[in-house]
């Protein structure tokens, strides 16, 4: 993490989303700094996905305000989409395209020139050690490789912020850690990481962590301070203390 001037890249103010009478996300207020690894935790159904959808500009809030990468989430959703990267466990790459084609497709979508795409994709393929696989279908890659490739593609256009929705679910323990090495490196290069996970050891790798319960942010601080605050030995304990009281299922 490289926070010299604490530039704010995400700022929300009482951000709220209602579906009828149901308040999925209630008056969420927080800030995320440039280059920070921000862990966005919560039980199933706590409202994480709802909040994330508003932040990436695909769902309109019911009330409240937020700026992402300096853009307003009501009026400038298209600019937001250009300034961010996104990957999830469920959707990341096109299985029936090759590795090279996936890179070309996403590079093109984000408006990079053919020349840029060509030189940067060669660089990326070499860095990942995928030279012999570059023309193979993504479907043929093991899951761990898919996720590493998906992350690389999500930051291919040098976004200000990358949103990662459970990026390491089901991945083997060594690859899971290699994935976090990549996250650290990206954060070191100034990309802000906004990540959700169900692995509580991964919460420890975040600079700061928020924990959502029933649509509300119940706690937000560094893992170290949270453990102190709740007199807990691990983030797992902190999470259990907060989420045990949850009334909502998913």
């Amino acid at each position: 993490m490289l926070i010299t001037e604490k530039e704010i890249v995400i700022k929300t103010d009482k951000l709220t989303k209602k579906f009828g009478d149901f308040v999925a996300a209630s008056e969420i207020t927080f800030e995320v700094f440039k280059g920070e690894i921000f862990g966005f935790l919560g039980a199933n159904g706590a409202g994480k996905t709802t909040a994330m959808k508003m932040l990436i500009g695909i769902s309109n809030p019911s009330s409240g305000n937020a700026q992402v990468a300096g853009y307003d989430i009501y009026k400038q959703t298209e600019q937001i989409k250009k300034s961010i990267g996104y990957m999830s466990q469920k959707f990341s790459l096109y299985e029936d395209l090759t590795i090279k084609e996936n890179i070309q497709l996403f590079g093109g979508i984000y408006g990079l020139s053919d020349k840029e795409i060509k030189s940067k994709s060669e660089e990326l393929i070499t860095k990942l050690g995928l030279n012999t696989e570059a023309d193979k279908l993504v479907a043929s890659l093991p899951l761990g490789w898919k996720q590493k490739l998906a992350f690389s593609i999500a930051i291919f256009h040098q976004p200000k912020i990358v949103f990662l929705d459970e990026p390491t679910g089901g991945v083997d323990p060594i690859t899971r850690r290699q994935f976090w090495d990549m996250i650290y490196e990206a954060s070191h290069n100034g990309i802000t990481i906004f990540v959700t996970t169900h692995y509580m050891d991964e919460a420890e790798y975040c600079d700061r962590v928020s924990i959502m319960v029933d649509g509300v942010i119940k706690a937000l601080d560094s893992p170290e301070n949270l453990k102190k605050q709740f007199n807990a030995k691990s983030m797992d304990e902190v999470f259990l203390m907060l989420a045990r009281g949850a009334k909502r299922g998913e």
Binding site: N44, Q89, P173, T175, R177, Y199, E202, E204, Y205, M235
Partner: protein, 305 residues
Amino acid sequence: MKAVELENIFKSYPIKKTSVQVVDDVSFSVDDGELFGLIGPDGAGKTSIFRILTTLLLADKGNAKVLGYDVVKDWKSIRNIIGYMPGRFSLYQDLTVEENLEFFATIFNTTIRENYKLVEDIYKQLEPFKTRRAGKLSGGMKQKLALSCALIHKPKVLFLDEPTTGVDPVSRKEFWEMLKRLKSQGITILVSTPYMDEAKLCDRIALIQNGKILKIDTPQNIMDSFDKNLFAVRSENMFKLLNDLRTFNNTESCFAFGEFHHLTLKDNDINISDLEKYIAQSGHLNATIKIIKPEIEDCFMQLMK
């Protein structure tokens, strides 16, 4: 008689012009009344093994039995005495909660009332929603309904394929508490999971990767068999520390492990002060080093190499 027995099972799938070996000479057995865990990441072959044992998939080679019945010859008998909860939600989305349960009870020639005691614990949490269609349930509730449906005919062996994947830590703990109660009623349970921390909740486990069993034993024995000293190290700059420890000339492996990095050394008998000196020379403040007991995940990573 063993509840589940596999002997040299092989299975491959054709992909394009090649074939992928997804189950590669797997043998293990599960004792009557045991809670046995198949622990491994996606693509390890867990689901194929479950499908072979539940008579839904034919192995290429090898033998498998459930309560003495052969999975090929006696598939009909097996289907009557097992419960199976697949990884993907497979109930009828357009039937209500209650209709689903009733449907599964009926096809097994029983009634909800007859075996209510067995599912009561789980199903009573769903009863307020019993007229809701299954497709409209939350993930956690779908999981509870699927488990109820797998149990309603009072199976002798329960197969649960990744019941906790994608489930938050609180709900996962609750789910394992339910499994413990089922086990105490004498049901044999074979469960798979990619979460290494759940391994400790099983009587015995098989660690599996790329279709091959890495090890089978009790969680305690597996942790005891870790043959290296394991150091937990932290400092104020964990990212730099990880890189520094990896370039230490005596390092065998170093992985981030939550609050600490876990380190093993090539020379197991090294004086800890050498390590302390190296860390201090690398410019780390407030570093702490301690020897710790390994977790299942440490063991899994050591066996993966």
